[in-house]
């Protein structure tokens, strides 16, 4: 079945440390891939997206993600985390084909320690 897996439910990092949030998708074809952020009391905001081309994509707020077909992964990274990055992060995918529905992972809650 088409799905998106975020293995880490909750991650805590220190401010200034690097961050990597994992995302794996299940389907073989190249999907459209997204990362969204949901801050407390805020709506969902797109951080970045991948459709084709360069497998390393840059997003807003200093985030980047790398598409690795061999690993069916699209991990989100940031070299130095800020306290304001504390939020819930969702990976999402459109597999295409018969339906273009947007499927979300279960999310990773990021806490940032001073």
């Amino acid at each position: 079945a088409q799905s998106v897996t975020q293995p880490d439910i909750h991650i805590t990092v220190s401010e200034g440390a690097s961050l990597e949030l994992r995302c794996n998708y299940s389907y073989g074809a190249t999907p459209y891939l997204f990362w969204y952020v949901q801050s407390p009391g805020q709506g969902l905001q797109l951080l970045l997206k991948y459709f084709s081309g360069d497998t390393l994509v840059q997003g807003i707020k200093g985030f980047e993600a790398e598409f690795k077909r061999s690993q069916s992964s699209f991990n989100l990274r940031k070299p130095s985390v800020h306290w304001s990055d504390a939020a819930e992060y969702f990976c999402a995918v459109i597999y295409g084909g018969a339906t273009n529905k947007l499927i979300f992972g279960t999310g990773t809650l990021l806490a940032v320690q001073p």
Binding site: G43, L44, F90, A92, T99, N100, L102, F104, T106
Partner: protein, 115 residues
């Protein structure tokens, strides 16, 4: 409008009553999604509309849930005979599809509380 608009922002209803939630997508967006987000949980896909194609209803949890969309404009999500487990934030999103502009824009959601 400039963004996706959902109404009402909050709704408290008694168990067994019907509720109707409204979503106004971004003008020109052919795709429209509904999701449910329970407290502390992820986004659960409910239904997807794409242009004039038949909607993808594969995420609707029961026959108490239904949704309609008029052309490429307003959508309503109806929950009949509400139950306490229906309490959640219901999110709507709209998007272009099939181009590099594909990006789902989300509304602020409707917080539904069934008492």
């Amino acid at each position: 409008g400039a963004g996706v608009s959902q109404s009402p922002s909050n709704k408290v209803t008694e168990k067994g009553k019907d509720v109707e939630l409204r979503c106004d997508p971004i003008s020109g967006h052919t795709a429209l999604y509904w999701y449910r987000q329970r407290l502390g949980q992820g986004l659960e896909f409910l239904i997807y509309f794409q242009g004039n194609s038949a909607p993808d209803k594969s995420g609707l949890p029961s026959d108490r849930f239904s949704a309609e969309r008029t052309g490429e404009s307003v959508s309503t999500l109806t929950i009949q005979r509400t139950q306490q487990e229906d309490s959640a934030v219901y999110l709507c999103a709209s998007s272009h599809i099939g181009t590099t502009n594909t990006e789902a824009f989300f509304g602020q959601g409707t917080r539904l509380t069934v008492v």
